[in-house]
Amino acid sequence: MTTNPTPDGDAVTTAAAADPDALRAEHINKRFGAVTALHDVNLHLGKGEVLGLLGDNGAGKSTLLKIMCGFQPPSSGRLVLNGEEVVLKSVDHARELGIDAVYQDLALINQLSVYHNMFLNREIVRGRLLNNRAMKRITQEQLDRIGIDIPSIDVEVAKLSGGQRQAIAVARSVSSDAKVLLLDEPLAAMGAKEAAMILELIKDLKQQGEVSIVMIAHNYGQALEVCDRINLLQHGEITFDKLSKDTSVQELNDIVIEEYRRALADRQKSA
């Protein structure tokens, strides 16, 4: 200790900088009563990486995401953000630390304008009143920078298409200085054209290199298209971890079909 000339503070900073992972989930367990939703999950997200999280319905993808964004605590296990262990107290707390999630329902308020949604719960105020002009200006800048084209930031988001709404939700997270972005099925229920717009957006974000992304997906083709690496979650455990270039839609399909076969066999056995 005494021989080390570097003060502790610096040592920590160096360790943080040296850590190649933006976020790590270590030995995460989550139980809801008698149900074990997650079992000893280890997941790591490299800096600037886009990680695809695949898995069957009910495999625990959303549960894991909600733990990583501070919406709910794990039963046990820990999160490491930039090399330092963090205990997320709330969604707000996670957001302060730079982790932001885009939920499946997008958490957009239909009745509010695009720019009010962009600044939801972190509104710019002048005194006690909303500074709408500043929020409009910054919203327009952000959307232009990320490359999202919508008719007007004054319209209620109810009037936007599914893809535009998803884009707004992603843009909101990015513009709130999120360094780790957790996307829960950003392409769900979206046509090819809309999905292409979101994939394009994620690719752009990757190119800009400012954010690391975990993305839950169902469509393997789309996931391989945009993700650097794929993790597969089955029955609350991560059973597969490969770089996208080392796997294929075929391989992923085979794994899942195998899972179905096993489930089917189990049913027949118990019947």
Partner: protein, 352 residues
Amino acid sequence: MSETAEQHAEVGGQPPAKPPASGTGNVLRRAGAVFIRQREATILVVTVALLVYFSVASSSFLTASNISNLLSGYAAPIILLAIGEVLLLICGEIDLSVGFVLTFSPFLMHYLIDYYSVPVIPAILLCLLFGVIVGWVNAFLTVTVGLPSFITTLGTGFILYGLVLTTSNAYPATIPVKAASYAKIFGTQSGFGQWSPIIWGVVLVIIFQIVLTRTRYGLHTIATGGNLLGARESGINVARVKYTAFMITGFMGALAGLQTAFYDNTIDPSAGQYTPMFFAVTAAVIGGTAMLGGTGTIIGAFLGAIVLATLQDGLSILGISANPLDIIFGAAIIIAMIANVRLARLRAAGRD
């Protein structure tokens, strides 16, 4: 394709500094479009039409004493309660008990001053605090315990009324002598005091319209009612939003109770109850507040209250029996709701 482009330009593309050069027709058309886009447009037209009709129909309508009676006697209590109900309806709740807060609060003032020798100003402040506490209890039972607010406030309303009847033996009381000099502030039948209730009403409407449309709390209220889960996921403290709305409503009930007592110069157990609360909800609905949560306007509710008051006051001045009034109110609620739904659909279709 060209349609979308045109819409684009119309909605947000044009800088407002440069008006279109195509003459007054276009300006009028655009003004019309902007006007109809306002939720309050329909109700404003109805309000003006009614006021014009009654002023023409009766020479005694447009007199200071009648107008003050209309605004302060009929409209003001509805306006105050409606401010609270609009906030609650926006965040997906309702308060059926607030009319009984109105009934109870002047009795409480009477008890505090006449039985417990509390000085007037603290007594009045305690009455207002009492309203806030009732709101808190309503919120606690609704938000924290998890009962539907319809049930919660049905229950607390009964309890409050029972308290009024038990403590007063169902007899009216007179305004405490010591408080009489404060009547001007809350409302009297003549002099400056006859305008006090409506001044309170207008000031509070302006304040809360600003709160609703220009503050974080207002935005969060809309978010809470528009998408409860989404609001929560965004980190909005939806419980606090609802607690606040209930407490504001309770406060308004207590203030309206004091106003009514001073204005009528009596503390009456038959004042208040369900009628002003239902009028307030009616005012909110015909003013453009949907019952579905997420949308609402306090200015609209204000105009709605003026409409209800004008009908009550105007028909009585014309000597028409008040009996069919409820038929008109009922029809007005339904027509207003249909109009709102239609307009909302038009707006959604972008054809406004």
